[in-house]
């Protein structure tokens, strides 16, 4: 441990950490925490992946085996075939990408309007959007469902249509707020230079605002995709057919009449895309949470 390893001063001073028994305590605590947290957070995932490789008898064995005695991918094969996971994965992916595109287009446009164009009543609209953050989703679930089964004025049902997921996804006040706050920080001079050059609002959005907003667009995209992938109750209600279900809902629907290990195998398959997504975008996710989340 050399001096440059230290960041800014925190709870415990550099001297306390480096003198006397300091290093010993530091390293012991670090190793204990590393082992405990690895066990607590990777352990269950290991258990899940290997458990699904075990046979029905082995899983009921006491004490449980740490390694599968005779690893057999049959449960994964069964899960994939019997639960039609390929189709379910495709559905979920389709909803997630659609929700992402709808949010990128409509929410970015709205945030741009609220931040830079500032139309009449814009602040009222912004206030009403932010007010929805205070309302728990569960309170709105029934009237939202009523809207989805009979859209006002149009009188069409959105049940089993991807729009039942895409359109509500746009009503995301948090993402609009993140985008607007980022757009607010873009210097007005930059905008003005573009106006003087004769660029219209759309041109400015496309050529000036969006290129510098890449970091926040990344964060919003990640939030949009994971929200759809993790959502359960809303897709369960509005995509009820076996052919339109999301993967989480599909696994839940099959869980009653399917052997335990096959359900777990399916759960592993449903989790793999999110884990890969996390590993790929880890940096952006972490940055987004800390800079985009709540700031004092």
């Amino acid at each position: 441990m050399t001096a440059h390893d230290f960041g800014p001063r925190t709870l415990i001073s550099h001297t306390q950490m480096t003198r006397g028994r300091g290093p010993l305590i530091y390293w012991t605590l670090l190793i204990v925490v590393l082992v405990l947290f690895t066990l607590a957070f990777i352990g269950p995932l290991y258990w899940m992946v290997t458990g699904a490789l075990k046979s029905g008898q082995e899983i009921a064995q006491t004490p449980p085996t740490l390694f599968p005695q005779d690893p057999n991918p049959q449960n994964y094969v069964d899960a994939w075939n019997n639960l039609n996971l390929g189709k379910l994965l495709f559905n979920t992916f389709y909803y997630a990408i659609g929700a992402l595109l709808f949010q990128l287009v409509l929410d970015t446009a709205a945030a741009y309007a609220l931040s830079k164009l500032r139309p009449m009543l814009g602040n009222v609209v912004l206030g009403m959007m932010l007010a929805t953050l205070m309302i728990p989703a569960m309170v709105l679930i029934v009237p939202q469902y009523l809207t989805a089964i009979d859209v006002p004025i149009l009188h069409i049902s959105l049940l089993d249509s991807p729009f039942a997921i895409w359109l509500p996804a746009v009503a995301n006040a948090f993402n609009i707020f993140l985008l607007k706050r980022f757009f607010d920080s873009i210097p007005q001079d930059l905008m003005h230079a573009a106006i003087v050059d004769g660029a219209g609002p759309l041109r400015i959005l496309w050529s000036v605002v969006l290129p510098i907003s890449r970091p926040i667009l990344g964060v919003v995209s990640i939030f949009a995709v994971t929200a759809v992938w993790k959502d359960f109750l809303w897709p369960k209600l509005v995509e009820p057919s076996p052919s339109t279900r999301t993967i989480s809902v599909g696994i839940y629907a099959f869980s009653g009449g399917t052997p335990m290990n096959v359900v777990i195998a399916a759960a592993v398959i449903a989790a793999i895309p999110t884990v890969i997504f996390f590993l790929v975008f880890q940096r952006n996710i972490m940055a987004g949470l800390t800079t985009g989340g709540v700031k004092e």
Partner: protein
């Protein structure tokens, strides 16, 4: 997230554009602005604003065989007289309290510890955040089938037995149902809170700790007099957010306890809304319960806001 300040100076071009021209630019912007805004506004109107009002309206109506009539407080009476109504509130309150002890305090302590480490920081952050990325249904099936298996083949019971502690029936025991749900829920959700606290901890000026140490404050005193006051805003915001989130407890009882659990020990208010609305074909009653939930949260927030204002 708490307040939105609007910077009016950015509206008007700061240079010497003649007033008339500026105005034309503005009104053209107004129309254009709405053109950009309209898509999102329509979605909000359809799926947030209108449902808000409609939820209140349908809670005073009853629809039977396609005929809708006004029924006054009937739906509310029916909901309150549901034998599970008070149990659901009691369970939800109990879950909220347990989740506050475990789910609120633990991430803060974890963040304080992580913040002292000079190694493996990225790894630890990624580790606690990983479960947040998993689909809740996947994680909960893992808990249901492997961790909370009531026999000794279950993961938790095997660990307890290994440590020579008494094993548990977990979801099959009425007393362990709630703690088991809180453990699963905390595991799934704490990553977000840990990262937010870590960001807040990094904003604390080191000089404050320095000064406290010179005054002879030990580690715990420094936490009490420096760390907590310096992160107070985030702490109180997260408290509010967490209470709103725990009040909506739904997927944990649905998957872990098949909804109600043994002897209604897992029924939550959110689950009751779901059950009335989508099983008992009583959307009006479910809407009424939704309104009750909103009122309870509203009263709670108002009370909380007053309390925190007084404290300052």
């Amino acid at each position: 997230m708490t307040t939105v300040t609007v910077d009016r100076t950015t509206t008007v071009p700061r240079d010497g554009t003649p007033y008339r021209k500026r105005r034309a630019y503005r009104s053209q912007n107004g129309l254009m602005g709405w053109a950009f805004l309209i898509g999102a506004v329509l979605c909000f109107a359809l799926f947030s604003w209108y449902p808000m009002i409609r939820g209140i309206i349908v809670s005073f109506q009853r629809t039977r065989r396609g005929v809708t009539t006004w029924v006054g407080w009937d739906n509310y009476e029916r909901i309150v007289n549901d034998p599970s109504f008070w149990t659901a509130w009691k369970n939800t309150a109990y879950f909220t309290v347990l989740a506050l002890i475990l789910g609120y305090a633990v991430p803060f302590i974890v963040a304080i510890i992580f913040n002292e480490f000079r190694h493996a920081r990225g790894y630890l952050r990624a580790l606690v955040y990983l479960p947040v990325m998993l689909p809740p249904a996947s994680a909960l099936f893992l808990f249901k089938y492997y961790a909370y298996d009531p026999s000794e083949a279950g993961l938790f019971n095997a660990i307890l037995k290994f440590l020579h502690l008494p094993t548990s029936q977990w979801m099959q025991s009425t007393t362990m149902t709630m703690p088991a749900m809180v453990i699963a829920s905390t595991w799934m959700n704490m990553g977000g809170a840990v990262l937010i606290y870590l960001a807040a901890l990094q904003n604390i000026p080191g000089s404050l700790y320095e000064a406290a140490e010179l005054d002879g404050a030990g580690i715990f005193k420094r936490i009490r007099h420096v760390t907590i006051p310096q992160t107070k805003l985030i702490l109180s915001l997260m408290l509010m957010l967490q209470i709103v989130a725990t009040m909506q407890l739904f997927i944990e009882p649905l998957i872990l306890a098949n909804g109600a659990g043994s002897q209604d020990s897992a029924t939550s208010v959110a689950y009751l809304i779901y059950q009335h609305g989508f099983f008992q074909n009583d959307l009006n009653g479910a809407a009424a319960l939704g309104v009750i939930m909103l009122v309870v949260l509203g009263v709670f927030s108002a009370f909380y806001a007053r309390l925190s204002v007084k404290q300052d």
